[in-house]
């Protein structure tokens, strides 16, 4: 699926705001993920997943930085995330179903922090964008 110009614009505009709190939003999204979908914790047996943990914040930042890269290269997400795609396919092998779960939690975090900006159109654009990112990250799985 491809993003329309309007959708790309919506993603970029909201990202400008999200980026200012990227670390906090990243950590919150992971917290939401682990609370609502405890099975996702199985990918982090080596982490301290308690609220506010350094590892949680660090990993949240990592995730949000990657999303930021995708936003910056929104016309060619595939190239921008090529290395990450290989990492997920050959090393991490996170089951594809989990990308939807994390995407949903990111949307919740963004909606909670920017309710008036999170219009239906922006919601749709971000859902589609995160879905695109997820596709890229899982496309080398087999």
């Amino acid at each position: 699926m491809t993003l329309t110009q309007a959708e790309k614009a919506a993603v970029v505009t909201i990202w400008a705001k999200v980026a200012t709190q990227a670390d906090a939003i990243g950590a919150e999204s992971l917290e939401r993920l682990f609370s609502s979908y405890p099975q996702t914790k199985t990918y982090f047996p080596h982490f301290d997943l308690s609220q506010g943990s350094v590892q949680l914040r660090g990993h949240g930042s990592k995730v949000m930085n990657a999303i930021g890269e995708a936003v910056k290269n929104i016309d060619d997400i595939r190239s921008a995330l090529a290395k990450l795609s290989e990492l997920h396919a050959y090393i991490l092998r996170v089951d594809p179903v989990n990308f939807k779960l994390l995407s949903h939690c990111i949307l919740c975090s963004v909606a909670a922090r920017y309710p008036s900006d999170f219009t239906p159109e922006v919601h749709a654009a971000w859902d589609k964008f995160l879905s695109s990112v997820s596709s890229v990250l899982t496309e080398k799985y087999r």
Binding site: C108, P120, A124
Partner: protein, 147 residues
């Protein structure tokens, strides 16, 4: 039967008591139709669904959204008996409406996002987790009588 802790029941009822069913229902249904446009397939007789603006302003969408969320409220009122609460509706969605149960999950997640936007920081991860469980239970109950 689903087990709810006292804390979960409290998180559900306290959030629900502050929900404007008409507004929230209308918003949730509108967002479902906008974010996942293929869900419009069930609403050919709703008139103009040609743009997000049209969908949000569509009176049939508003009315149906209110109907759906009012029905959701029945589940909230009968947390210990959700399967029975939705037995008839489940049959209806299968036999007459022919709705893929995946749509119940989609709407449930949209509702969660609408609640997040409405309650902002009060919609904590713990609160979301409880509500994810609730929408999952309701979706399961609505799919239960499918054959």
């Amino acid at each position: 039967m689903v087990h709810w802790t006292a804390e979960e029941k409290q998180l559900i009822t306290s959030v629900w008591s502050k929900v404007n069913v008409e507004e929230c229902g209308a918003e949730a249904l509108a967002r479902l139709l906008i974010v996942y446009p293929w869900t419009q397939r069930f609403f050919d007789n709703f008139g103009n669904l040609s743009s997000p603006t049209a969908i949000v302003g569509n009176p049939k969408v508003r009315a149906h959204g209110k109907k759906v969320l009012t029905s959701f409220g029945e589940g909230v009122k009968n947390l210990d008996n959700i399967k029975a609460t939705y037995a008839k509706l489940s049959e209806l969605h299968c036999e007459k409406l022919h709705v893929d149960p995946e749509n119940f999950r989609l709407l449930g997640d949209i509702l969660i996002i609408v609640l997040a936007a409405h309650f902002t920081k009060d919609f904590t991860p713990a609160c979301q987790a409880t509500w994810q469980k609730l929408v999952g239970v309701v979706a399961h109950a609505l799919a239960y009588k499918y054959h």
